[in-house]
Symmetry: C2
Subunit: 106 residues, 2 copies
DNA sequence: GACTTGTTTCGATGTTTGTCGATACAGTCG
DNA sequence: CGACTGTATCGACAAACATCGAAACAAGTC
C-alpha cells in the first residue's frame, strides 16, 4: 500500500473484501467462527448470539463466502463454515504501514 | 479476533473503520497518501488520478478522516492529509489469524 | 476591498445494502 | 413416503451511500 499507489483493479478487489468486513454482524460472525473450537462452526452455532433472523445470518454468511473470507461445506444435516486464513493475511499485510512512512518520521 | 468472540461495541467500532476502507477510491486515496513523499499529500495531489469530481474526493477524505484513518491540517492555501499508522496497525493486528486456529491445523 | 484558486458543505438523485417474512431446498428419522 | 429440522433463496421495503452541480468558505494576490 505504501510502495505502489494501488491500481484500480487491485483496489476494486480489495474493496470487495473490506466491504464484507464492514458490518458489525459479519465481523462478529467471523470472530465466532475463528474462535470456535476446531476452527469451524455450523450455522446453528451462529444464530443464537444475534438478534436478527436466521435468513439474515445466512445472507451475511453468503457475503463472507463470496468475498473469499470463509469456506463452507455441508456435512449431513449441518453446514459448517471456517475462516480462510490466506485471505485475512492478505488484508492484514496490506495494512501494515512501515513506521518509516509515517508522517512524523519522514 | 480468534481469542475473544468480539463484543458488540468493539465490532461496531471496527466495522466503522472497515467501512471506510470498503471503497476502491478510498483505498487508492489512502495508498496515494501513504506512498506520497513525506507521508502526506495535499488534496490537489489527490484529484488528478481519479475520474470523479473534486467534491466527491473531498467527501471520501472526510469519511477517512471521521473513521480515524487519516489526519488533516490546513497550511496556508492547501489542506494536507496523512495516514494515522496506529489505526491501520489495529486493523492489521485484528486480521492476523494464528495458523493454529486455521481449520486444517486444528 | 475585489478577484482568484483551493477546499468543503449542501441538496438532490439513483443505487446498494440490511432486514424481514414466506417459501423452497436438503437431509434425517419415523 | 411423510414429517421434521436446518439452511438457503426470494421478493419487498426502508435506510444508507456514492455521486453530482451549485454554492459557501478560506487564504492569498492585486
Amino acid at each position: 500500500m505504501v510502495r505502489e499507489p494501488l491500481g484500480e483493479e487491485a483496489a476494486a478487489e480489495l474493496s470487495r473484501m473490506f466491504k464484507a468486513l464492514a458490518d458489525p454482524i459479519r465481523l462478529r460472525l467471523l470472530s465466532l467462527i475463528a474462535s470456535h473450537e476446531g476452527g469451524e462452526a455450523c450455522v446453528c452455532d451462529l444464530i443464537g448470539p444475534f438478534d436478527v433472523s436466521q435468513p439474515t445470518i445466512s445472507h451475511h454468511l453468503k457475503v463472507l463466502r463470496e468475498a473469499g473470507l470463509v469456506g463452507s461445506e455441508r456435512r449431513g444435516t449441518w453446514v459448517y463454515y471456517w475462516v480462510l486464513p490466506e485471505a485475512l493475511a492478505k488484508l492484514s499485510a496490506l495494512l501494515e504501514i512501515p513506521a518509516a512512512s509515517a508522517k512524523a518520521l519522514a
